[in-house]
Symmetry: C2
Subunit: 227 residues, 2 copies
Amino acid sequence: MSSYQKVPRHLLAIDCIIFGFDGEDLKALFVKRKLEPQKGNWSLMGGFVAETESVDAAAERVLFELTGLSNVYMEQLHCYGELERDTHSRVVSIAYFALIKIADYNDAVLKEHNASWISLKELPELIFDHRQMVEDAKERLRQKVANHPVGFELLPEKFTLRQLQTLYEAIYETILDKRNFSRKIFSLDIIRNTGEKEKSTSRKGSFYFVFEEDKYKQLEKEGLKFI
Amino acid sequence: MSSYQKVPRHLLAIDCIIFGFDGEDLKALFVKRKLEPQKGNWSLMGGFVAETESVDAAAERVLFELTGLSNVYMEQLHCYGELERDTHSRVVSIAYFALIKIADYNDAVLKEHNASWISLKELPELIFDHRQMVEDAKERLRQKVANHPVGFELLPEKFTLRQLQTLYEAIYETILDKRNFSRKIFSLDIIRNTGEKEKSTSRKGSFYFVFEEDKYKQLEKEGLKFI
DNA sequence: ACAAAAGTGTTGTCTGTACACCCATGC
DNA sequence: GCATGGGTGTACAGACAACACTTTTGT
């Protein structure tokens, strides 16, 4: 019963990479750190794991504190455990990444936390190993998106094909052919044309689509190559 | 400076899924647990993260304790942090998986640790969430092997095409066509025929090949679809 | 001579990619 | 009537999957 006595205990942190898409760029949410060390520098949103919560729950709490959102797509990225990663003391951090609809995000919260959406193309200097975390998260997002339609988590309920394509272009930092792209997406049969049109970006107007989760879930089991 | 005071501290464990291949089945190494709770039940090899070692280093130490091996392929799998995962007290565990050449493994160590190689097709009951860890590791291994030639880590220095194919069949739990398989492997140009023959399994004998790391490393950068 | 595993080629299908023009509409 | 972005089809190339026979050699 006493077999775990004398075992060292550790500070366990959470850091969240919160991705959003503004229709043009892939962005992530960063805060100006409120704690020493490195107070005032750009950092991922983080916190510590409490005694009575699971690690996943801690991550959800941290996300909620910064965004007011729950029930969003979230996934554990990696556990970062180098001895000197936190310059103040030994802290092991478990990084998560989340995908949120940027429009759901309440701007009032931005100021409260000194937070900003920053394009991943122009990352500022970040504290500790947060830069590494963001790079790792980008890579994982690419992997994920290639096989699972999680991209929809970053788009509004209704979206145009153009928006969807731009999102993929932002994630992969590439340019896609719109004919091939639409053919591919339609062949998967997971989006539905609402019949409604978006008219602000062109005279002709482009159809709004919605994601059909049911059809996807069937595909998920069979295994799906998304892009 | 005192900003981390009053933050709770946690027990941080390591659990290792150690994969091996005996020429027929994909196996993993399990031990009969020496600690309470659940003393005597099958478990992954584990340990606690010490104060003065990184998490990666802790994983390497745990692997070394059980196998006497270092410098083997090892990768972090996932951090398991449910509140009740360890029935004794709150422990967060970081799981790693390793790929070792089963022949390098010293049988004397097996007895010392009450360890056994167990085929993944006939897993016994495991303590805590170790079953989940093993399933997750299998899945990750499949992902990994599809894009990186880490399979070689599980084979002896010299191996026949048949052995390589059997390994892939074991990992994917499927049957492959040997003509297509050999064509695919040769097209990648990452193994070299030693000219030497293995004669125990057939009258004709089959060539031994070796993995050519150099050629792979070039491919790695370009991105490689292995199987 | 035969058994047992090794080694090797061809064909059809599918998937991915490159590429250019007409459509609908607001001004 | 024209400028703007939306929407669509075809042809070629490479990858993958299915399939069966000959070779070698120890007994």
